[in-house]
Subunit: 195 residues, 2 copies
Amino acid sequence: MRSDVLNPPNPRAYTFVGGDEGSMRVLSQRTVSGASIAPVSRVDMLASLLTELPSAAAWMLSGVATNDRYTTRTEKGELTSRQAPIGRPEATRAALILLRKRPEWWALAQDERRTILEEDSHHIAIGIRYLPAVARRLLHCRDLATDAPFDFLGFLDFAPDDEAAFEDMLVQLRATREWSFMDREIDIRLTKNDG
Amino acid sequence: MRSDVLNPPNPRAYTFVGGDEGSMRVLSQRTVSGASIAPVSRVDMLASLLTELPSAAAWMLSGVATNDRYTTRTEKGELTSRQAPIGRPEATRAALILLRKRPEWWALAQDERRTILEEDSHHIAIGIRYLPAVARRLLHCRDLATDAPFDFLGFLDFAPDDEAAFEDMLVQLRATREWSFMDREIDIRLTKNDG
């Protein structure tokens, strides 16, 4: 293979690796809808693309941080002014939420998806209410050159005291019209402390 | 590498291969803005993902057909009712347009990009005026797991008699505010007839 025509990894790509190793310990792994994946005891989040599964791993999932798809300038301004980055020292708890939406969602026009997501479901507004306590990194998988098993990988971290607020946020989101388009969801809770 | 955790190619992925072989003959290759790519005499369009450059090829470019990013339900209805598929027997001429937009574009909010693309630049409305004569397949590269040299690969085909109309469309699009965000554009014209 000629290296001069091969593309380097996308600098916005991340890979989650599940197995017996990794920086985060799994507290729970729950299949909310659709098919499950292999249960694991640890998860790693790598700011890179892996092309080979590490020998001790059960699965790896890649995604890319992309441009905003739905947020308006006003919403983006509010998000930017309030949100915290992933990886604060006090954010020792995390959730990895694996999501796939039904083909019907992807066949909608942009204005229809925006209406369901925000005007009907208040997805952006609900998320803003939990800032800066719940930080998040949303990765997209659907437009990778390989056929990914999920459309989105959501990684969120927070202090242990904010886990109840995080649960509250999830309950609200899962009750929305937008969530009726989910056909697969897996909720993996993590701690960054080994203790 | 364990095959059970590798993803198959995305069924919406296509690869263009440039070199001395391929089903389409290059009539012209023009760098409109930004860096050029190696000149080639033939181009192939494959409905698949290649991971290795064919031995006779100079370059390969992959992209994925994705969901609509800007079109409203009304616009989508009009597009769907008027557009023709790629590959009509009379559409013996084609253009492969390679495009990349500046980072400033990608940093805009969704409503700002929509306003520039359609309310200011009439991108969708201009395209509709040339339906069904000019058929198109728009592929996205920016969210691939590898760092692609272009954001979009546009493939358009038309009858030889409609090439003037196609030129007219391009002139209009290149004069728009949206096009001021392009930092790289290469325009490759092709014939599907060898003669």
